[in-house]
């Protein structure tokens, strides 16, 4: 034995700092940061820039922590699927216990510090979002219902509402409609992807709508959610945060989105395979633009209002 009591065996695959960062799902975090930032800035009160920065950081950390807890619980299915097999836990660089401790500690830290930096409504909403994503979605419904995408989308829709609550200390029509925007956008976005990407969710025994209800039904679901999304998106334009930039953007984007969903509904599998799912791929790309342009337009209107520019 050496003079040191710690375990000094060379360990293959030892976790690096980047592996713990990867547990936070940084790509998902960009959406969280952007929408929370819009929610915070669209609020009709001014927030100290440093407090605003801290609020966004803690919301992002809370979102990341729920991602780590999701990876802790889903390590078994992550190992089966090609897309997720290289994540830190299935790759053997981080143990499940480490991910659990990391996610739980970071969750508590993010909630407490968001509460201290802003208010406890925002802290409470962040705590509920983490609970919803980890317990309701990941542990309970993800493996039991083909509506898992819809339910998972709710967790991703909370950040603008938390940003708004951090600024105002309230929940209002505007923040609920911003929640609805992301919530109703998620199903058409993911189901379009599911139509043209062969998913290995089957191997992992995760029920997906394309498999449980068939691809025909998935196409109809896309149209239904797209129409519902348009109603809420246009309604947001008539609240205090909807200016001319948002309303114009929303009308154009929703018209294009409904047209895309209608085209998807009219097609069958033979038509889609003939052009390698061109319409479905185009709709998916449009969905990415849709969300960023919608929240971007809210941001532009908020900035113009603050600058006193009337269009």
């Amino acid at each position: 034995m050496s003079d040191a009591s710690f375990d000094n065996r060379p360990i293959e695959n030892e976790a690096q700092f980047g592996d713990f960062f990867a547990l936070l799902k940084p790509r998902v975090m960009t959406l969280v940061v952007f929408t929370a930032f819009v929610g915070l800035l669209a609020a009709p009160v001014s927030v100290h820039p440093f407090v605003g920065f801290c609020a966004i950081l803690f919301i992002a950390l809370g979102g990341g922590a729920s991602g780590a807890l999701n990876m802790w619980y889903d390590a078994d299915i992550d190992a089966v699927m090609r897309r997720t097999a290289k994540r830190p836990i299935p790759a053997g660089r981080v143990t499940r216990d480490e991910a659990f401790a990391f996610g739980l500690t970071l969750s508590v830290f993010a909630v407490v510090f968001l509460g201290l930096a802003t208010n406890w409504l925002a802290g409470g909403l962040l705590a509920f979002t983490i609970f919803f994503y980890v317990v309701i979605y990941t542990m309970w419904l993800k493996r039991s219902t083909p509506q898992n995408i819809v339910i998972g989308g709710a967790a991703g829709a909370f950040p603008p509402m938390i940003g708004w609550a951090a600024a105002t200390g309230t929940i209002s029509t505007e923040s609920v409609l911003m929640f609805c925007l992301t919530f109703l956008w998620t199903p058409p976005h993911f189901w379009a992807l599911a139509l043209f990407m062969r998913s290995d969710y089957d191997d992992a025994k995760v029920p997906m709508l394309t498999v449980t209800h068939g691809r025909r039904s998935t196409r109809k679901h896309i149209l239904a959610y797209t129409v519902l999304l348009a109603v809420f998106a246009i309604a947001l334009g008539f609240t205090s945060i909807g200016g001319p930039v948002y309303l114009t953007t929303a009308v154009i984007l929703n018209a294009l989105f409904i047209k895309g969903a209608w085209d998807i509904t009219r097609r069958d599998e033979d038509m889609s395979e003939a052009d390698n799912f061109a319409v479905e791929r185009k709709f998916f790309k449009l969905s990415l633009l849709y969300l960023f342009a919608s929240f971007g337009a809210i941001l532009v209107d908020a900035v113009l209002t603050r600058m006193g520019v009337m269009l």
């Binding site: 690096q16 440093f50 407090v51 950081l57 510090f113």
Partner: protein, 55 residues
């Protein structure tokens, strides 16, 4: 053996230790910044009426 010789463990965990160090430094800066902002805004000021009623 020289006392300054680095154990292989130090080299292996260098990235992790630097990352953790920077995270802790950022945390200190955040707490310090928030404290300055909150004191500057008077968040911790006690209402004089409350003080007198408490006596």
């Amino acid at each position: 053996m020289s006392l300054s010789k680095q154990h292989e463990l130090h080299e292996r965990r260098k990235g992790r230790n630097i990352g953790l160090g920077l995270t802790l430094a950022a945390f200190m800066a955040l707490v310090f910044g928030l404290t300055i902002v909150k004191i500057g805004r008077g968040d911790f000021q006690v209402d004089p009426a409350e003080m007198s009623s408490g006596n």
